[in-house]
């Protein structure tokens, strides 16, 4: 039967692009698009990293860097937050890993709609250009903080309240369009393009994570789009959606009757699920990398899927826990605290499953595995401190302190970034055909992991002392303890060290891509389909003339009696010398 998909595929096989531009720049190939996403996101992320150094230098050694002043401190803060959350993490985990891995892992030749996929990347690039253009316009980029709360984000007096915020809002709207186009492809591809034998319950958890994350993204980005458009109208057309009557230094603004709280509701209806958009693919990557390097089936495969789906659903009914201190009806706080604490259940399920996967595994302490274990650690610490903030009574005194900074950097920032590194080290041999250097990788891991704790753990203690976040300087904070300066200096030194470790990572990528040890077809002895391609670096159409057929789930590691300790998903018959007494391992023969 000639379905459109089949027709498109036939067209694909016959028209392998030849010119350099069609092959590497305006490519329709999901692998090239995934790499484009990854490289762009890492480049933008490097800018976000440098911005955080500048902020840390000011906090650790006030006045030492004369170029940092309160105005550009707030601009750095705004851009650091948005870049890291949206333009790095969302883009790399969905756009980068999602694009590269989904078709390879489910045995498809490409995404469902390659043209839309290419458009998604170029729209993303446009949004990045719009974002960075803020630095080249009069008034500079917006300093309205990454949450963009009106009225201050668009009123005069805030840095970049002219063209800067316009560009920023336009960039966000364009990013939403890009993420929508990408998300449509990921979901449709997973649902409709799987190869023979690849049932949903045989998909690797990475694909599950990206799939659920794409669903959450598709439903949570629209409110951000709506809020951005309305804020843009308030800014450009003089509407009063979010701006009440405001008196700025004696001048009454021409606005009346708007609701700033409305913006916060719309923003956090996006903002909270966004945390899970980032962390769900990370959880999937962690699960796959962990099972592979621990040589054990993932513990509780179905529970992992159910808990990811549960997290995705619950993420839509917790948003107002960001607003306990905003002045909304306190009764909402009661409800949203209850739903927020419920998230702990699926999250804890996942953590136990990871720990039980490690339990008695033949763990290979490779670099990706180290990052994976590091993820579990930071996710637990970050998650547990989230329980503090989910309670209204505890949140109110902690809300505007460094406790919040420490919490979300560990649970969302560091955890997702560690998962991203685990993924990059794990799949680098697939992408380039060469292994990454293990020594440099381990240096990168230990400095990053320990450094991250040195940076963010003191922030919990600072938070308990009531040290306010967002401040440029603590000179006028009367209750600041005497040791604060020393702690801040230590945090800054640790942050710079973590930053330096990222240079090791970049050097490792560049060196390994050119000079690294040549990789085998399946260097980690993994079961998932992407390692079973005919060529080590899969060509156009991924699979050669015949699509692979799948006979088992992806976690048949260390099956008792099997000849090897792994059985790839596309391996039909295995001579299993069945042990006389011994329970059949979960999943064998599925």
């Amino acid at each position: 039967m000639a379905t459109p998909a089949a027709a498109a595929h036939a067209a694909h096989e016959h028209h392998e692009p030849q010119s350099f531009w069609r092959k590497y720049v305006f490519s329709l190939d999901h692998k090239v698009i995934g790499i484009q996403y990854t490289v762009t996101a890492l480049a933008v992320g490097a800018i976000g990293l440098v911005l955080s150094w500048l902020m840390r230098l000011q906090l650790g050694f006030p006045g030492a860097v004369g170029a940092v002043n309160p105005t550009n401190y707030y601009q750095f803060m705004t851009y650091h937050g948005l870049i890291m959350v949206v333009y790095l993490q969302t883009a790399i985990l969905l756009g980068g890993f999602g694009n590269y891995l989904i078709p390879l892992m489910i045995g498809a030749r490409d995404m469902a709609y390659p043209t839309l996929n290419m458009l998604s990347y170029w729209t993303y690039l446009l949004s990045v250009i719009l974002l960075l253009a803020g630095y080249f316009v009069p008034g500079g980029p917006s300093g309205g903080s990454w949450v963009l709360y009106p009225p201050q984000s668009i009123t005069a007096g805030t840095p970049g309240s002219g063209l800067g915020i316009t560009l920023l809002l336009a960039s966000i709207a364009v990013f939403v369009v890009s993420a929508t186009m990408g998300g449509l492809n990921y979901i449709t591809t997973v649902l409709q393009m799987r190869t023979r034998g690849m049932t949903l319950m045989r998909m690797p958890l990475t694909v599950w994570g990206v799939f659920i994350s794409a669903v959450v993204a598709l439903l949570s980005f629209p409110p951000l789009f709506v809020a951005g458009v309305m804020l843009l109208f308030d800014h450009l057309l003089g509407t009063s959606f979010f701006i009440p009557t405001v008196n700025v230094l004696g001048t009454v603004l021409p606005h009346e009757g708007g609701s700033p709280l409305l913006f916060q509701h719309l923003f956090w209806f996006f903002g909270h699920p966004e945390v899970y958009v980032v962390i769900l693919p990370a959880m999937g990557i962690i699960s796959d990398v962990m099972a592979t390097h621990a040589r054990k089936p993932i513990f509780g495969y179905k529970a992992m899927i159910v808990s990811m789906a549960a997290i995705g659903v619950i993420s839509f009914i917790v948003w107002a826990h960001h607003m306990f201190a905003s002045g909304m009806n306190p009764f909402f706080g009661y409800i949203f605290a209850a739903t927020t604490l419920v998230v702990a259940i699926p999250s804890a399920m996942k953590t136990y499953n990871w720990l039980l996967t490690l339990w008695k595994g033949s763990i290979r302490f490779t670099t990706p595995m180290l990052f994976t274990i590091g993820f579990v650690s930071t996710f637990v610490i970050g998650g547990l401190t989230g329980l503090f903030l989910g309670n209204v009574a505890v949140d109110l005194p902690l809300h505007d302190t460094y406790f919040v900074v420490g919490h979300f950097h560990l649970v969302m920032g560091v955890s997702a970034i560690l998962a991203m590194f685990a993924g990059i080290y794990h799949w680098f041999p697939k992408v380039t055909g060469r292994m990454m250097n293990e020594t440099l990788g381990k240096i990168h891991f230990f400095v990053t992991f320990l450094g991250a704790y040195l940076v963010f753990f003191p922030m919990f203690l600072m938070g308990f002392q009531g040290i306010p976040r967002r401040y440029f300087s603590f000179d006028l904070v009367a209750f600041a303890p005497s040791g604060l300066d020393a702690v801040n200096a230590m945090v800054t030194v640790a942050a710079l060290a973590v930053g330096a470790a990222q240079l090791v990572f970049v050097a490792n990528i560049v060196w390994s891509a050119v000079r690294g040890r040549e990789a085998d077809a399946n260097p980690w002895q993994a079961n998932t389909l992407e390692w079973q391609t005919p060529q080590i670096r899969p060509g156009h159409g991924n699979w050669g003339p015949k699509l692979p057929e799948v006979y088992r789930w992806p976690y048949d590691y260390s099956v008792p009696g099997a000849a090897r300790d792994f059985i790839p998903q596309n391996e039909p018959e295995v001579a299993v010398v069945s042990p006389a007494a011994g329970p059949e391992p979960e999943g064998a023969g599925r």
Binding site: L184, T188, M198, R202, V226, M230, S259
Partner: protein, 228 residues
Amino acid sequence: MTEHQQAAVAGGRRSAWREIVADFSRDVRTYPFGWSKAMMWIFILSDLFVFGGFLAAYAGARMAATQPWPDRGHVFSLTIGGAEVPLLLIAIMTFILISSSGTVALSVAASHERNRSKTAALLGLTLVLGACFLGMQAYEWTHLIHEGFLPSSNPAGASQFGATFFMITGFHGTHVVIGLIFLARVLLRVLRGYYDRIGTWEQVEVAGLYWHFVDLVWVFIFAFIYLI
């Protein structure tokens, strides 16, 4: 029959719930149609949240407004022969748009029969009805702007009325324009026999889905902005 399905049959005493799960998680395709139709359904779900966001914001802005909300019966009225008829234009517009949903549904039915001329004629009729809707909306906007309604101001009360009205109907109008372009492209391809060549007429149904969605959203916009 795949291994999974065989297992489902052999399992015998599996519950209906398990059967449903096995059905949806079967290999190759979850839904028994092409990817473009699945993608359109997913897009509609996402777009629903855009309009949901706009309408929720409308409710929020209206509740927060400090000035009185204008009387829509008066604002959206036409004066015919000296008598003021409330909501006349919008009633006609809504009737036209809903009718276009009917014509597109008939054209999808004709496409299932692979009837080229009937499909094309009904698609053409849909295009005409959609264009009528857009023309009337343009008239309504001009009329209101002449009376002093702007996104930033409203002579008859809260400024949020003009702001939400122009934003939401404008966003819906953009959807109608995109729908017309989509339908026109499908119409051309029907006329050229493209769908016979590729062996599937599914695109007619995909375009129809989008058009139904745009009409359905209008029902809610009509109810919230004009009636309630």
